[in-house]
């Protein structure tokens, strides 16, 4: 029973990681850009819920409205970032890390100036506040928080939507082409600059959705993005770039691993053990779980 409930905890940690890492994997995979401001796009999504609830009274309706609005808000911020800063730095991918960290600092301070430094509260719809009892036997019962179930479902939906977009749409085809070979894509007439910007829009928008989902389970504050971004980047590194499935598998695997180790030791020791596990894993697969095979030397 305990194992099952820890498994569920792990899956829900993994779902949050997945929602965040999907966008990162997209931008990192295509442009090699490390966007440290991704966490602040999550924050923007979360504050979208907070602002919307000032005008929409029903918690359920505001959440439903916030999902697309959060996507657009964070996506627009991403496009702006790409247009103003990142596109000048495509030749120096490591430097984007520092520049976007600066952007992240400023966005956090902006949030502090607008909304105040303390965390703010949002209301969760009644449907998502209780627990769902999956089964109960004599030895005990397994009940799952419905907010966590919602996030799990949302993450799965996001993956399916993204996978379908990449596989079926014209934009998806172009994105895959650019990821596989930027130069060949360019000489085939694909406007790689525009594709980059659209990818950034989608990736950042996914962060916005993650932010909306996070309002159900955690506090909303200016620093909420920083805490989780390091783990999300680890997911991208271990998952490998260019393939969605690596990110999906690794997000859930890391979530479950973290939850299981946490259960047998402490949170802080679990962090270190998970890090060691990742370094060990990279000995086996230094490029991550899945990679697009090429003939390049690396």
């Amino acid at each position: 029973m305990v194992v099952l409930s820890q498994l569920f905890t792990g899956l829900s940690i993994g779902a949050v990681l997945l929602l965040i890492a999907l966008g990162l994997a997209l931008t990192f995979g295509q442009m090699n850009v490390i966007n440290m401001a991704h966490g602040e796009f999550i924050m923007a999504g979360a504050y979208t819920v907070y602002v919307l609830q000032k005008s929409i009274r029903s918690a359920g309706a505001s959440l439903l409205v916030a999902l697309p609005v959060g996507f657009l808000v964070a996506g627009a911020m991403g496009v702006l970032l790409e247009f103003l800063l990142i596109r000048h730095l495509y030749a120096r991918p490591l430097d984007t890390l520092l520049v976007t960290w600066g952007v992240a600092l400023m966005l956090q301070q902006l949030a502090r100036d607008i909304f105040g430094a303390p965390n703010v509260q949002t209301r969760a719809p009644d449907v998502l506040t209780g627990h769902v009892t999956v089964f109960s036997t004599d030895s005990g019962s397994l009940s799952l928080a419905s907010s966590r179930l919602f996030i799990l479902a949302l993450a799965v939906l996001a993956v399916i939507a993204l996978a379908l977009t990449l596989r079926l749409s014209a934009l998806g085809r172009r994105i895959r082409a650019v990821v596989q070979n930027r130069d060949l894509a360019a000489v085939s007439g694909i406007p790689t600059g525009r594709v980059d910007r659209l990818t950034f829009f989608i990736g950042s928008g996914l962060a916005g959705i993650a932010g909306v989902a996070l309002t159900l389970v955690g506090p909303i504050g200016p620093a909420m993005g920083t805490n989780i971004i390091v783990d999300a980047f680890l997911v991208v590194v271990v998952g490998g770039i260019g393939q969605l499935w690596g990110t999906v598998i690794v997000a859930f695997a890391l979530g479950v691993l973290q939850a299981m180790v946490e259960y047998s030791t402490t949170v802080s020791v679990a962090k270190v053990l998970v890090f060691l596990a990742i370094v060990a894993f990279l000995q086996w697969r230094p490029q991550g779980l899945f990679t697009v095979r090429t003939r390049s030397l690396a």
């Binding site: 120096r92 600066g102 952007v103």
Partner: protein, 405 residues
């Protein structure tokens, strides 16, 4: 792995023109890296400034602050070597700074408590029965002093040899180093009973028998720190001028080519990473008597990346740039953040953006950039043409050489 972007090395590999970011391709007349005579004169000047002028001009309070900044500058020298010369963007120098700092602080706490007694915070939290086993060796001053430098180097060696051997690099390495930093800070906070938790190890008042509250002894600590700074500077210069230094730059700029020429890039990177870790550990050990505290907040993800930005502002690939940049950024932080905390955060954000975006070589490259501009002709037309040519080179480079990660 796809060749999705051309990478920084591809951009200038075959262009034969100096790269503003790294100073590559420039003849050896960089800031501080000229003839031995000029370098010697520079060191004498720096020594006079640090040992004679600063103590005379600055008040005790300012001198204490300077001592703290100089410790951070030692970390900066290491980052300058690893990142500026070796291309290893290490976002986790706080780990090594912390290992050195904690090793020193543990010994000082034990010495203060006296043999057989627990350090004050352990008695206060009451989570331990006796002194934990891993604290015990630090009672020995020689062990503790050796550990401040060797422990960080050992950790760097372990991580580096695993990671570089398997050719994990670039952004992957940066993220791993940052994750290590986050894990270490969380671990220290979590183990409150034996590490002091969030507060860290505080109230350190004596340094090998000398009372640190006495201004005279504080000045002595300052002199020790200044001496180590100059020593590390000399070491960094030796490394940069050596054949190894050239190999390191070659690895940074074209790792695959270096490998195919018969060198082992993993070894070159490992050496510079371990060196940088040792410098950070030394800096942490010096930081403790200068400031009297070491805590997770000083070594986590945020302070670690602040080291890097100081290095970027100063000029990552130069000798003096990293140290001066770190000191300047730390000084600006003290000066601005207390009076205008909000404005400081915006300013710090801009510090990350503007120099990296517009002046990749840092402040140390200003002279070179202006000189090049003048040499290329002042008209705007010329500069745009030069930019176009550079783009062309990027295209050619990326189409012919396929080796970026």
């Amino acid at each position: 792995m796809t060749t999705t972007t051309t990478g920084p090395d591809a951009a200038t590999r075959d262009s034969g023109e100096p790269d503003p970011a790294t100073g590559k391709g420039e003849p050896a007349r960089r800031f501080g890296a000229g003839s031995p005579l000029r370098a010697g004169a520079g060191f004498v000047l720096a020594a006079v400034l640090l040992f004679a002028v600063a103590p005379l001009v600055l008040s005790t309070f300012r001198l204490d602050l300077l001592a703290k900044y100089l410790c951070l500058a030692v970390v900066g020298i290491g980052i300058g070597l690893a990142w500026g010369r070796g291309g290893l963007l290490t976002l986790g120098q706080g780990v090594f700074f912390g290992l050195g700092g904690y090793a020193m602080a543990m010994h000082l706490k034990l010495a203060e408590a006296g043999p057989g007694n627990l350090p004050d915070f352990m008695a206060l939290y009451g989570q331990v029965e006796g002194l934990p086993l891993w604290w015990r060796p630090f009672a020995n001053p020689f062990f503790a002093l050796a550990a401040t430098v060797l422990l960080p180097m050992l950790v760097a060696f372990a991580l580096g040899s695993l990671v570089f051997r398997r050719r994990v690099r670039g952004a992957y390495f940066a993220i791993l180093s940052q994750a290590l930093c986050a894990a270490m800070a969380i671990l220290l906070v979590g183990q409150q009973g034996t590490t002091g938790g969030t507060n860290g190890l505080t109230d350190i008042h004596s340094f090998f028998g000398y009372d640190l509250d006495d201004p005279v002894n504080q000045r002595m600590v300052y002199f020790i720190i200044a001496a180590f700074l100059l020593l590390m500077m000399a070491l960094a210069r030796q490394l940069m001028q050596s054949r190894y230094g050239e190999l390191l730059v070659a690895v940074r700029d074209s790792e695959e080519r270096t490998r195919l020429l018969g060198y082992d890039p993993a070894k070159a990177k490992l050496f510079v990473y371990v060196t940088a870790a040792g410098m950070a550990g030394l800096a942490g050990a010096l930081f403790v008597p200068a400031v009297g505290i070491i805590s997770p907040a000083l070594i986590g993800v945020v302070p670690s990346i602040e080291f890097v930005i100081g290095v970027a502002v100063g000029g990552r690939a130069t000798l003096l740039g990293p140290a001066l940049g770190v000191v300047a950024v730390a000084w600006a932080k003290t000066a601005l953040s207390e009076r205008y905390p909000a404005a400081w955060t915006y300013f710090e954000g801009l510090l990350f953006i503007i120099p990296v975006l517009l002046l990749p070589g840092g402040l140390a490259s200003v002279v070179g950039v202006i000189r090049r501009r003048r040499a290329a002709g002042d008209s705007r037309q010329d500069s745009t043409r030069a930019a176009k040519e550079r783009t062309l080179n990027v295209g050619v480079g990326s189409a012919t050489v396929r080796e970026t990660p």
